[in-house]
Subunit: 315 residues, 2 copies
Amino acid sequence: MVKLQFLGTCAGIPSKMRNVSSLVIQMLQYQNECWMFDCGEATQHQLLHSPLTLSKITKIFITHLHGDHIYGLPGVIGSRSFQGATEKLQIFGPKGIKNFIETTLTVSNTYVRYPLEIIEIQEGLICKNDFFSFEAVRLEHGIVSYGYRIVEKDLPGPIDVEKLKSIGVTPGPIYKELKAGKKVKLPNGKIIDGKDYCGPKKVGKIIAIGGDTRKCESIKRLAKDANILIHEATFLDKDRDLAFEHFHSTAFEAAKTAKECNVKVLFLNHISSRYCEGIDDLLREARSTFINSYIPHDLQTYLLHQNDEVVLQLD
Amino acid sequence: MVKLQFLGTCAGIPSKMRNVSSLVIQMLQYQNECWMFDCGEATQHQLLHSPLTLSKITKIFITHLHGDHIYGLPGVIGSRSFQGATEKLQIFGPKGIKNFIETTLTVSNTYVRYPLEIIEIQEGLICKNDFFSFEAVRLEHGIVSYGYRIVEKDLPGPIDVEKLKSIGVTPGPIYKELKAGKKVKLPNGKIIDGKDYCGPKKVGKIIAIGGDTRKCESIKRLAKDANILIHEATFLDKDRDLAFEHFHSTAFEAAKTAKECNVKVLFLNHISSRYCEGIDDLLREARSTFINSYIPHDLQTYLLHQNDEVVLQLD
Ligand SMILES: [Zn+2]
Ligand SMILES: [Zn+2]
């Protein structure tokens, strides 16, 4: 199950209703890790109003270096240390992020008590572990801007114990081999294939988090077959010239991408403050093209179930 | 009349109740200028909940470079431009402030459309105009920390029109000379002294804003005869060893300074989050030594009348 916590959904400058960009994603079957995407000013303040704590955040991905996406970093880094976190924090972002972080921490004499790793990325695979791969896809904005594509590895299906017992294979270490899909030689010399004794594999989720971007071709690589696409919708389509000029997208453009790329669920964020208090038009525009569209409010939490059903979590 | 708007009154890291340091002071007879003292993260967010706008802020004074006093600067500077301010903004602060601001703006590609002047200060007079002088006083903290002493010039008293008429001097340009306290030769050759024809002068206010500091001698130069002293009170006096060790003050120490320095009104801020939700002990401790002590909540506005009476402004 995927948990999305929208901390800031506004473009450019904060309003009373919405803060500037930040989002936390948690894969509930891998509980210890929370990943943050962008970190606008007052992100640590928003966290105070959520069940999350800074120490749970272990990776921060920055899409681009505009102030509304990074000015909360020094505070998050410093307060995480102040609160006693000891686990390593990795920060991924475009070239320049290292200078930003190092200068702000040095000038303010901030000593960080946990290992802090800052990785300046380029397009391509930026990080992987046993369960996930993280890829950066270059988008089209006034400055270098990346989207992040997270691919969860497929997991083997449940082992069919009854079927195995019926051929005389009882539970033991051999089950682990079979579950991993390997071929195994039985004591009687017969070779059986784990794949024949497991249910259908659990297909991993794909989550695509866009940075600020104009409508572009590369967003399709980011979004292709994603279970979740998070896409900026700074403008309404009637303002599409403004959107183009300022390297942003409209709600219609985001919805069109979701439809063309076989996305399951679309979340729109980075809403211009001109719409912040009346997002009905934006949502209507998106849904008329892609019905499974959502525009979260700040501090809302959404759950995506294994069957791609979306549920707004109530406190 | 002096107007004080407390935007953030908490030490170190924000809590749900109080934000990190920032304060705006306005002299209501000189309406166009608002001065900000310190600018912790989310200061621009706090302003959204006040009647102030960023464009009204024309001077920002930074006491020291700890993150809880400066991390809101890039956002304030950028959003002030985004909102269309054209008037010059001056920022005063210790050495290092220029590097902090320039790096954060450059990395984030922030273009500022108004004149921005950054002044790295040393102890002494840092700025003056026709009505005020601003002096920096070095305090005792882990890093360089200044307090700011603002002295309003005395204004001449009201001219005694009846008395002047009685000796045949009728209103005209000569009144301006007399009001300025000059000696003037009348057409009949007689010389009169403006001082004899004016009421008592309006004594200028002294406002002293302390930065983070341990109890020290120099705070007395800062606070001497101030109408308003704003002083940190990070700890209760029972924790005075902690306060000393961390270069901070206790409520009792602040009150003692106010008393010894002939201060009229004391405001305590920079409250440790351990007390943030129960400040009664801090206030009781201060008032037992200096009765005219206040601990403002965030977003509270206080007015100081000409007779040094303090009024909490209600919305
Ligand atoms: Zn943005
Ligand atoms: Zn401080």
